[in-house]
């Protein structure tokens, strides 16, 4: 083997590598183990490696002695340069770059190579390199290369640690740069910013003891050195210069220590960072950050004012624009000061940026400050975050916690405040953080939103009133009438309480008009309408407004009155009856005895039809005092609902009648209501029958009507009268029923049912009213057309 002449850099590098491979310190390296890894890291084809080995004479010796190793390395460099492998090339090629090794371990070496050879090379090599346990090998090398003895020793210490580090990928390049930097200062290699982590670690290890001392010195210049160390300052000679300056300014030891600390921090950081999350701060890193934080602000719970932070981060030599962006990202609460978490995030971002990572547009989750309660920063979190993480801590999602366990460690102090704002999950709604948070809260219960119309009985009838009251209290549905008229679907969906519907239905039944009025008046807001209508509209069931027969004058008929006025109420009663009729079958036992009177009242009215109705309704009626109405309504609703929903069947019967009544878009609500009711009842009855839910078979007429209404959901006008009749019947029948049942439970159930019925009824009423509205509009249009036709003549 001819003599091997190596340049100084090569010499150093090779010696480092050799030391790295020479774990046994036997001055000869076996062909396996590190050497192999090294060669593999050289990324040379196997045959080349074999050739190298042969050339260097290792094969002869069976191992790699130092010289052989050196030769091998040189050959590797030759091979990597693309030159043919020749023994002569060892010495002939003068400008050979240092061999590059790319493997994890080799990273270090490569890194080492870089520093040794040229900075530029290094930059390239390790930026892409995974942060392998570089520290180790490099530590060694670093130690070798560096003048400081400490590094060396510490390197040894570090070495065992380095393997751990290798898996660390946290900002992959970052460890390297750090190391490099560290080495730099430690070794005073102004030319080699990237000397590699090794030296850093070692010094750090050593420096640990002296860290305290170092810290003091460190504090003086720590920010810069660490930053530079960590960040790939190495890239820029100026950086290294800076580093050199620092060492210059600081004792070597101090530098070493600082470097060491940085290294250690890096090491730690590297080690703990997970592969997956490049933004995650490892424990070591965090520890380092915390230490740095302490240098600026001893109180971990305190803030770093913006100016101090600015100085600190300016030392990192990042462009102001980038620093500004980093600040934007990390100042979570936009208060112009950095908490520990924010500081760590900012520092981490700086490091990452230094290592070549592009800054994210939004703060990564792992960097979001978990802290929420910033006692000091009163307005923390109040400020809208522009980028998804507004300051409102309230929103901080818990997601952050898992991502920053290390933060948690240091956090306890910071998290004194009770509120633990969780980091935002990258939500970009800035000022809406609070709102977002709120939005997280379960939205209002739709049920509550859907206030079924309180079955307001329009008719002042006592029974109705009672029912209404009950209903109102019980349910929001206000469609005493509407239930009948209102579309079942609406009601049914909204009807939490069947009773309400029932109620409504009952109401309609009772009043016929009153309920219908309610329906008509407020088709949309079932409940509201019901109430309102109740007050004024006698013709509640009018919703559907089948062109009612003679307009029902008094909307304010009380149930009782309505009952009395069976004729007038015939419509209603018819409806009611229908409802009632329908009700019994579908309506579950009416709860309120109070309601019962209603139904009962109705019952008698429509004895014939209602009887059957009542027969069924009794079950229902007992539950509801307003059974009478309800039954009708139920019948209606049931009929109508059946179409849409079966559960509301009870109400439908009543609703149907109502619906039917409402369908006709007669202007005379009252009349219509009544007629509708009648029709409804009739319709509902049939509808019920059709549905099968209306056991009540109100008089066949009502039943038929019911069916119609159900089918059409718009009872014909002619059914109106029938409905009223049915309603009347229902009304009559109703009263009798409630009395029978006076149990609370049943009463409740009845009331529920009533409410539901009312709802249904109101819904139907609503629909009917809508229909009426349509009709009216059509009429209006026709009238307008006529007017238009007439107009030309006017010009004449």
């Amino acid at each position: 083997m001819e003599g091997l002449t190596l340049s100084d850099a090569e010499q150093k590098y090779y010696s480092d590598l050799f030391s790295y491979c020479d774990i046994e310190s036997t001055k000869k390296v076996a062909a396996n183990g590190r050497v192999l890894e090294l060669f593999r890291a050289a990324q040379l084809p196997n045959e080349v490696v074999l050739q190298i080995k042969e050339l260097c004479g290792a094969k002869r010796l069976g191992y790699f002695g130092r010289s052989q190793f050196y030769i091998a390395l040189k050959l590797v460099a030759v091979a990597q340069s693309g030159l043919p492998l020749r023994v002569e090339s060892i010495n002939t090629v003068k400008e050979l770059p240092l061999p590059r090794f790319v493997a994890s371990k080799n990273e270090q070496e490569s890194r080492h190579a870089a520093p040794y050879s040229s900075d530029s090379e290094n930059q390239g090599s390790y930026s892409g390199v995974i942060p392998p346990p570089p520290g180790r090998g490099q530590v060694k090398k670093g130690s070798i290369s560096h003048d400081a003895v400490q590094p060396r020793t510490s390197t040894d210490q570090q070495e065992p640690a380095s393997p751990v580090v290798s898996p660390q990928q946290s900002p992959p390049a970052s460890p390297h740069p750090w190391r490099k930097h560290n080495r730099h200062p430690s070794g005073g290699n102004s030319e080699r910013p990237l000397t590699g982590p090794g030296p850093f670690w070692s010094p750090f290890g050593e420096a640990q003891s002296g860290s305290s001392a170092a810290d003091t010195v460190w504090s003086g210049h720590s920010p810069p050195p660490p930053q530079e160390n960590w960040v790939s300052f190495a890239d820029t000679p100026p950086t290294s210069t800076l580093l050199a300056m620092h060492p210059a300014s600081v004792q070597d030891q101090t530098t070493v220590r600082t470097v060491a600390s940085a290294t250690t921090a890096n090491e730690i950081r590297r080690q703990s960072s997970s592969y997956d999350d490049p933004w995650k701060i490892t424990d070591e890193q965090r520890q380092y950050y915390v230490n740095q934080f302490k240098t600026i602000q001893p109180d971990l719970n305190g803030f770093i004012p913006g100016s101090a932070a600015k100085e600190f981060f300016t030392k990192s030599k990042l462009p102001i624009l980038e620093l500004s962006h980093i600040w934007e990202l990390s100042d979570f609460d936009k208060d112009g000061a950095l908490t520990l978490d924010e500081f760590c995030a900012a520092f981490h971002l700086v490091v990452a940026r230094k290592n070549g990572y592009d800054l994210p547009e939004k703060l990564p989750e792992s960097l979001m400050p978990k802290l929420i309660d910033l006692e000091d920063s009163a307005d923390v979190g109040d400020q809208p975050g522009e980028v998804g993480y507004s300051g409102s801590p309230a929103e901080a999602p818990p997601s952050k916690s898992p991502s920053m366990p290390s933060l948690n460690q240091t956090w306890p102090e910071l998290n004194q405040s009770s509120e633990q704002w969780e980091t935002f999950s990258e939500r970009s709604s800035s000022s809406q953080t609070l709102t977002q948070f709120d939005s997280n809260i379960a939205p209002a219960d739709p049920d509550t939103a859907i206030v079924y119309p309180v079955p307001i009985r329009m008719t002042p009838s006592k029974i109705h009133m009672q029912e209404m009251e009950l209903k109102r209290t019980g349910s929001d549905h206000n469609n005493p009438t509407s239930p009948l008229l209102v579309k079942p679907p609406d009601l049914s969906e909204e009807n939490k309480l069947n009773s309400s519907v029932k109620f409504a239905s009952g109401n309609t039944v009772a009043d016929g008009y009153s309920s219908s009025d309610s329906f008509t008046s407020d088709p949309e807001q079932i409940g509201n309408n019901v109430n309102r209508q109740r007050s004024h509209s006698g013709t509640s069931p009018d919703n559907t407004a089948p062109p009612p027969p003679p307009p029902r004058p008094q909307p304010s008929h009380s149930r009782s009155s309505s009952l009395d006025m069976n004729r007038t109420f015939t419509v209603t009663t018819g409806q009611q009856q229908a409802g009632v009729v329908a009700h019994p079958p579908a309506v579950p036992p009416r709860p309120q005895p109070s309601q019962a009177p209603g139904p009962i009242v109705h019952r008698p009215v429509d004895a014939d039809g209602l009887i059957t109705h009542t027969s069924t309704s009794p079950q229902q009626i007992p539950e509801q005092p307003n059974f009478a109405d309800f039954s009708q309504f139920e019948v209606f609703t049931a009929s109508s609902v059946n179409e849409e929903q079966d559960d509301e069947a009870e109400k439908h019967p009543e609703a149907l009648p109502v619906e039917k009544s409402s369908d006709p878009a007669s202007s005379l609500r009252g009349a219509k209501t009544e007629s509708k009711i009648e029709e409804k009842t009739a319709a509902s009855a049939p509808a019920n029958v059709s549905k099968g839910t209306t056991p009540l078979a109100p008089p066949p007429k009502p039943v038929r009507r019911r069916l119609k209404s159900e089918d059409e959901l718009r009872p014909e006008v002619d059914e109106h009268t029938q409905k009223t009749g049915v309603l009347a019947a229902v009304l009559a029948s109703q009263p009798s029923i409630p009395r029978s049942v006076g149990k609370d439970k049943k009463a409740i159930q009845a009331s529920i049912r009533r409410n539901k019925e009312t709802n249904t009824v109101l819904a139907r009423l609503n629909s009917e009213l809508q229909q009426q509205l349509k009709d009216v509009l059509e009429e209006r249009i026709s009238l307008e057309v006529q007017l238009e036709q007439l107009r030309p003549f006017s010009h004449l």
């Binding site: 913006g306 100042d331 208060d335 000022s431």
Partner: protein
């Protein structure tokens, strides 16, 4: 939705100006520049200190047939000028106010950044994003 948003410093030089790219932006710049006179007129007319939020919002500065210019001034005499399309009738005064409020908040955040020197051009990405959200979406 604005077509042009500008932040003018106290000394009446622009800190940030951004327009919808499709138009002849110079025209907007000119409009903003001329509207500064109106702004000065309005703020000088107010003898008392501008402490009231309402006074911060100057309202419509100058309407043209195509555009309307709205103004807003902060307590530190930093002016926000917004040019909106006159055809956008749906834009109500309240909306303009809210847009200015958002602008003001974002500007405050930019100010809080220690790396920002008052008087520099505003390069904040967050500010840019916010302004983008307010600009007319021109496909």
């Amino acid at each position: 939705m604005a077509v042009c948003i500008a932040v003018i410093a106290k000394e009446n030089y622009p800190l940030y100006i951004r327009s919808v790219p499709t138009e002849n932006e110079l025209k907007f710049h000119y409009m903003v520049h001329t509207s500064l006179d109106v702004v000065d007129e309005k703020i000088s007319a107010l003898g008392k200190a501008l402490v009231d939020q309402r006074e911060l919002y100057l309202g419509l500065l100058y309407p043209t047939e195509d555009h309307k210019v709205y103004g807003y001034v902060t307590n530190s005499k930093v002016k926000f000028v917004m040019v909106v399309d006159a055809s956008n009738t749906a834009l109500r005064d309240n909306e303009i106010r809210s847009m200015f409020r958002k602008l003001h908040n974002s500007y405050t955040d930019v100010m809080c950044n220690p790396f920002y020197n008052p008087g520099d051009r505003i390069h904040s990405r967050a500010f840019d994003n916010m302004v983008t959200s307010m600009m007319i979406q021109v496909c």
